[in-house]
């Protein structure tokens, strides 16, 4: 069984994030990394390979030239090869465009199982896994906490608000995993050195035969009209107990759907 893992290169959580003049996330000015939530996807793929359930792991990312760092990081954790879709025309691509590009790339990679993170840590839309699956006409199971592969099917355990579900889908399929799926390994230096020798293929839009006017800010199905910093987030509310604190606290919890 071949696995493809979708990973995204995102800004460091501690960097100061801002939008560039074109209202896209400024990715040049800040340090980037392999999205923390995608590390769980990488981990699951490697565990499947270690368990003998997978024969090959490929990573796929669409992103700026520096996104290759994210691929190298994943390769340092394990896996065999990586594909980087990079093209100047991709700057500003929205979810629909990204899904089209990733689906096109996945058609060439031909994996039996596609593993994604539950969300990116920058835009946090959580839509790409399903959008890609829909384009590829694959079953998709999102938010897996436990993932098993046997006899040509995928079995997933996942938590919903009120229950734990067991979901089964025939392979080929796509699955997204949560941060509860199992701690991601810390790559060793040995792994980092080995990663330098693993092949990373670069594909452009032309390679994927995608017209440039379907992607980028220009080809996007959505447009950003304005960005502005939120009014500085009031430091959390702090109240002093005058006998009513429990009730006010319960109100706060209720208002935030935490009860």
């Amino acid at each position: 069984m071949k696995i493809a893992v979708l990973i995204k290169y995102v800004p460091e959580a501690t960097a100061s994030w801002r939008f560039a003049d074109d209202r896209a996330l400024d990715r040049d000015g800040v340090e980037g990394r392999l999205s923390e939530l995608d590390e769980y996807a990488v981990e699951q793929a490697i565990r499947l390979a270690e368990a003998g359930a997978a024969t090959e792991i490929s990573y796929l990312t669409m992103g700026p030239p520096r996104a290759v760092d994210a691929l190298r990081k994943a390769l340092a954790m394990g896996g065999d090869r990586a594909v980087h879709v990079v093209d100047d025309a991709l700057h500003g691509t929205d979810a629909a465009g990204t899904a089209a590009v990733l689906a096109a790339a996945l058609r060439r990679i031909e994996a039996d199982l596609i593993i994604c993170g539950m969300a990116s840590t920058d835009a946090e839309m959580s839509v790409l896994p399903v959008m890609v699956a829909e384009r590829l006409q694959l079953p998709a199971v999102v938010n897996a906490a436990v993932l098993k592969v046997a006899d040509g099917s995928l079995t997933v355990e996942r938590d919903t608000e009120d229950a734990t579900e067991e979901v089964v889908a025939p392979l080929p399929a796509l699955v997204s995993v949560t941060d509860r799926s199992g701690e991601a390994r810390y790559p060793s230096f040995k792994g980092i050195v080995a990663a330098k020798r693993k092949p990373v293929t670069t594909w452009s839009l032309a390679d994927l035969e995608i017209p440039a006017d379907r992607v980028g800010a220009g080809g996007a199905a959505t447009e950003v009209l304005a960005v502005r910093p939120s009014p500085p987030r009031e430091a959390g509310t702090v109240i002093t107990d005058e006998g009513d604190a429990a009730a006010r606290l319960a109100d706060f919890l209720a208002a935030n759907k935490l009860l």
């Binding site: 629909a96 829909e134 009120d162 447009e223 959390g236 606290l249 759907k257």
Partner: protein
């Protein structure tokens, strides 16, 4: 006026609050048409009418076992093609997002997720998103295809329509079969009501520190946790004092947790402790020292004594839960 398709969820005819919020927004954009799963009884129709719904589309599921998000996406795609809505509104959340994602691909249009506000504009509905942990606001719109918009729960206050209407109810049969290769839910286990969840996996964590004062004081933390179905955590001070097992320690030399809700009682919030819980979505702190560092990162803080606030809170929650 043009149609706004709204995916409405209900529990035995009682419309969910998040769906009411969608309807409130939808009325600003056009005529809300509700899409519901299964039969729409009279009571439901009437309730929807109170919220300005003119048409109710009741999806007849081909088979009760069918994978629900797939059925909903198919139905919405079919209805969108027929009614050419100005927007499709869906509640954010794992299943809503899944429906929205499938739908957007089928409609070959744009998708906007997790909007906190949607308003009507000449060029189509404009959605506001709150991004980067709330630090920035982004306004955007869909410029190709039918706008599919998911809306964050609790972003708007649900209001009934100024004048109730009597909606038309239409049963919708799927024109297309549900694809064979969809996931199947083979088992569902209601979350165990007893037994505390695993600390690192819990969605709610209640943690106690030195401020609870004694093992008996720590029992208050445990009672609140059980009331909330939460896991119990502790600062190192509390575990060192053997008020609770060492495995419950959260922090730099203990467990790292990132639940939806972290409620700290009698914890000062030393950096070594914060290192293990600062990723929590919502942080609530009860501490009698207004200068305790935990308040710097708390979303809601109570300056007060845990010995009075915790019992009152336990009662309050029990009361609200009925």
């Amino acid at each position: 006026m043009s149609t706004v398709l709204v995916l409405v969820h209900h529990d035995d005819g009682v419309i969910r609050k998040s769906s009411l919020e969608l309807l409130t927004l939808a009325r600003r954009l056009g005529d809300p048409a509700a899409v519901v799963h299964g039969d729409a009884g009279d009571a439901l129709a009437e309730a929807l009418g109170r919220h300005g719904v003119t048409t109710v589309y009741a999806i007849a599921p081909p088979d009760p076992e069918s994978y629900r998000p797939a059925v909903e996406a198919l139905a919405l795609a079919q209805l969108a093609a027929r009614t050419a809505p100005v927007a499709v509104l869906i509640t954010s959340g794992p299943s809503g997002t899944e429906v929205a994602a499938r739908l957007a691909v089928r409609l070959d249009g744009g998708i906007i997720t997790d909007a906190v506000q949607v308003r009507a504009e000449a060029g189509g509905p404009v959605a506001t998103q709150s991004v980067f942990a709330g630090a920035w606001l982004v306004e955007g719109r869909v410029r190709r295809g039918t706008p599919v918009i998911t809306v964050r729960p609790n972003a708007v206050t649900p209001e009934p329509a100024a004048e109730p209407v009597t909606p038309q109810v239409e049963r919708v049969e799927l024109a297309e079969p549900v694809p064979a290769a969809v996931p199947r839910v083979v088992a569902r286990r209601a979350k165990a009501a007893t037994g505390r969840p695993e600390l690192t996996e819990a969605t709610v964590v209640v943690a106690g520190g030195r401020g609870v004062g004694s093992a008996e004081g720590f029992a208050l933390i445990e009672r609140l946790a059980d009331e909330l179905g939460a896991a119990v955590g502790a600062s190192r001070a509390a575990t060192d004092l053997t008020w609770c097992p060492h495995e419950l320690q959260i922090g730099q030399t203990g467990k790292t947790v990132a639940p939806q809700l972290y409620l700290a009682g009698g914890i000062s919030g030393a950096i070594q402790h914060r290192a293990g819980m600062q990723g929590s979505r919502t942080i609530v702190a009860i501490n009698k020292d207004p200068k305790a560092p935990i308040f710097q990162i708390a979303d809601f803080g109570v300056v007060g004594d845990v010995h009075t606030v915790l019992p009152a809170l336990i009662d309050e929650i029990a009361k609200r839960r009925g």
